[in-house]
């Protein structure tokens, strides 16, 4: 303001800090207490989720006797890998694992292909009738025929008790179509489409060499959603499959973990007890084995997963 002092001393660091402290808004006293409560609350959430998981993992690495006598808490007791040996010696489980891998890989490829094939044309403005088609697709979110009518369709299509029964009837998710369409709309500018057309690039070639490379992140998210859905589902297998050789891992899990059907007739009392102990342990190891693939990749993809969920929130 005043033009008196032209030579101003450069403020020292310390005085600057002091000035900054004076400028800072003072925190109300209650906030410190409140923050402590927040940290406590979050720690409770954290432990409530973590401890059951720890208990299962710790049990799976313990000895059969320790598990059966209930001595395991959150750390393995009498460390052993007996449970894991039992899991991988069980032909049912191994077969289920292989089946699940097949369903997940093939199912994801089919699902992603179909989703892109419908979502990309629907994202193009030059398509006549795209709104009608989109409405028809969205309507299936609100109203479905129901279990039995769908079952009858699968039956008359001749898919019952085939591997395709787990892949085709669930191939397209409406939610994933919405995500893909929104992404194509926002990530592919109209100018790009027009420029490609002027250069004489056909729609299919444009999709293959421009759109899909640009949409890789979205395709990865959608593929992941389908893969996890496929890996974790058991209901379709329960209703469409009778042949145990085709069972995915989740259905094998249900039979062993929930219905308690581990085969084998009993002989002596000591053998029965040993078998019971091993059957108990096997359950814990089986849970770990079944969840590891998903839990291993999840920390790396959680962020993208969240993005995918939120893409649908953008007005498309």
């Amino acid at each position: 303001m005043s033009v008196q002092t032209e030579v101003r001393t450069v403020p020292s660091k310390r005085s600057e800090r002091r000035a900054a402290r004076a400028r800072r808004i003072r925190e109300p006293r209650s906030d410190r207490m409140f923050l402590i409560c927040v940290y406590l609350l979050l720690s409770v959430f954290f432990l409530v989720v973590l401890l059951p998981l720890l208990y299962i993992v710790a049990s799976s690495f313990s000895s059969p006797a320790a598990v059966s006598s209930g001595r395991v808490l959150f750390w393995p007791v009498e460390f052993s890998l007996r449970g894991y040996h039992a899991v991988f010696e069980n032909p049912q489980i191994v077969q289920g694992y292989v089946n699940s891998l097949f369903y997940t890989v093939v199912g994801t490829i089919v699902s992603v292909t179909m989703t892109v094939a419908i979502a990309y044309p629907l994202s193009r403005r030059t398509l006549v009738g795209r709104n009608v088609v989109m409405t028809l697709i969205l309507f299936t979110m609100l109203f479905t025929g129901g279990l039995i009518p769908t079952y009858l369709v699968v039956q008359s299509a001749g898919l019952l008790d085939t591997r395709w029964a787990l892949i085709i009837p669930q191939a397209i998710g409406v939610w994933q179509v919405i995500i893909a369409r929104t992404y194509f709309r926002t990530a592919i500018p109209d100018e790009l489409v027009e420029a490609a057309q002027l250069d004489g690039c056909g729609d299919l070639r444009f999709l293959w060499s421009v759109v899909i490379p640009l949409a890789k992140p979205m395709i990865a998210v959608v593929a992941l959603m389908y893969a996890i859905m496929q890996w974790n589902s058991y209901f379709d297998a329960l209703i469409y499959l009778k042949n145990p050789d085709l069972f995915p891992l989740q259905l094998v899990l249900r039979n062993i973990l929930i219905l308690n059907t581990t085969g084998g007739g009993a002989v002596e009392a000591s053998v029965v007890i040993q078998r019971q102990e091993l059957a108990d342990l096997l359950k814990y190891s089986l849970i770990v084995v079944a969840s590891v693939p998903v839990l291993l990749i999840y920390p790396f993809v959680a962020r993208y997963f969240t993005k995918g969920i939120l893409i649908g929130a953008v007005k498309g």
Partner: protein
């Protein structure tokens, strides 16, 4: 799940920017031209569209089975019409009220428990600074969402088992005799709901966190200058900020109250807790696929779908009236 605002009726499309080119001509002429120019795109859509017709729309038409008496040899359309008979049979069935009650209570309890807890987790996470602690809590609470229903139910059974379970170990430590949680119908709903909360809270919180990060920091700044405590800021800045998101999530949850899933209830069921755990979805499966009463089960399923659709539209209308935003805004 985040929002369905992207779901918009046709014609309500606002152009994102002024169009440089003339719109495609409407009507049959425009369609012909568009078809000639973009026939490959239409071709791409054929297979998925056929899929939608076969696996979504044919089942809808198959739902007429609810008004017929299914005859295997004659097929769905050849079977005899019986009018509302299947529905009447169901309404007069002694299990009817119990099924509706179980479905409704289980669902309402789930919504009532998980909705506020997810918001609380998100608000708490939003209060602390980004760091290792925050990241770890988020990663761990999010994890159960990726575990399958079968595994979560198995874990629940193992943790609560009277012979091995850690919960009964703990009770035994205090001299309480072992409780068979799953064999007692009184516990069923609590087990179902709280294992659900355990599995989904972290995931739901993520959606609210995204909404919280979208709040204008200037609002928080000015509140701080005015001397607002953290709690006051949560009340007057954060909560109003996530209101639209919360309303949509609640509308969807309440609107799907009768559509509560088959998967978990079916797995947690056993003969001892059936009186509380038998819901409409599991009943449809048993009468339809296990007892082969296709028409009866279709009628029950249709009744449930229709009730649910009406409920969704009603809740949405109410939400729109009160807050001004619903689905299809």
């Amino acid at each position: 799940m985040a929002t369905l605002t992207s779901v918009r009726p046709p014609a309500g499309e606002a152009p994102r920017r002024p169009r440089k080119r003339r719109r495609e001509r409407p009507g049959i002429v425009g369609f012909r031209r568009s078809l000639r120019r973009h026939w490959t795109l239409y071709l791409l859509m054929v297979v998925p569209l056929v899929w939608f017709v076969v696996f979504k729309y044919i089942p809808m038409s198959n739902a007429v089975l609810a008004f017929k008496s299914f005859n295997v040899t004659k097929g769905i359309w050849g079977s005899q019409w019986v009018g509302w008979q299947n529905f009447e049979l169901f309404f007069h069935n002694p299990v009817f009220w119990n099924l509706v009650k179980n479905t409704f209570l289980l669902s309402v309890y789930t919504v009532a428990a998980s909705f506020p807890i997810a918001i609380i987790l998100a608000l708490a996470l939003n209060e602390i600074r980004n760091g290792l602690f925050k990241r770890t809590v988020q990663l761990v609470t999010y994890a159960p969402y990726f575990i399958s229903t079968v595994v979560v139910v198995s874990m629940t059974i193992l943790v609560l088992s009277p012979r091995l379970g850690i919960v009964n170990e703990g009770l035994g430590f205090f001299g309480v005799p072992a409780i068979d949680f799953l064999g007692n119908p009184d516990y069923f709903r609590h087990i179902y709901v709280w294992s659900d909360v355990w599995q989904t809270t972290g995931y739901s919180a993520v959606i609210y966190l995204a909404a919280l990060s979208g709040i204008d920091p200037a609002l928080h700044e000015s509140a701080r200058i005015d001397g607002a405590t953290r709690l006051q800021r949560i009340r007057h800045v954060d909560l109003p900020g996530i209101m639209p998101t919360a309303v949509i999530i609640l509308v969807l949850a309440v609107g799907n109250i009768m559509a509560i899933g088959f998967e978990k209830a079916f797995l947690l069921q056993n003969p001892l807790n059936l009186s509380e755990s038998e819901i409409i979805a599991t009943y449809v499966y048993k009468t339809g696929l296990l007892n082969a009463d296709f028409s009866g089960a279709t009628a029950v399923g249709l009744f449930n779908s229709v009730i649910n659709l009406v409920l969704l539209l009603m809740v949405n209308a109410v939400a729109k009236r009160i807050t001004g935003n619903g689905l299809w805004s």
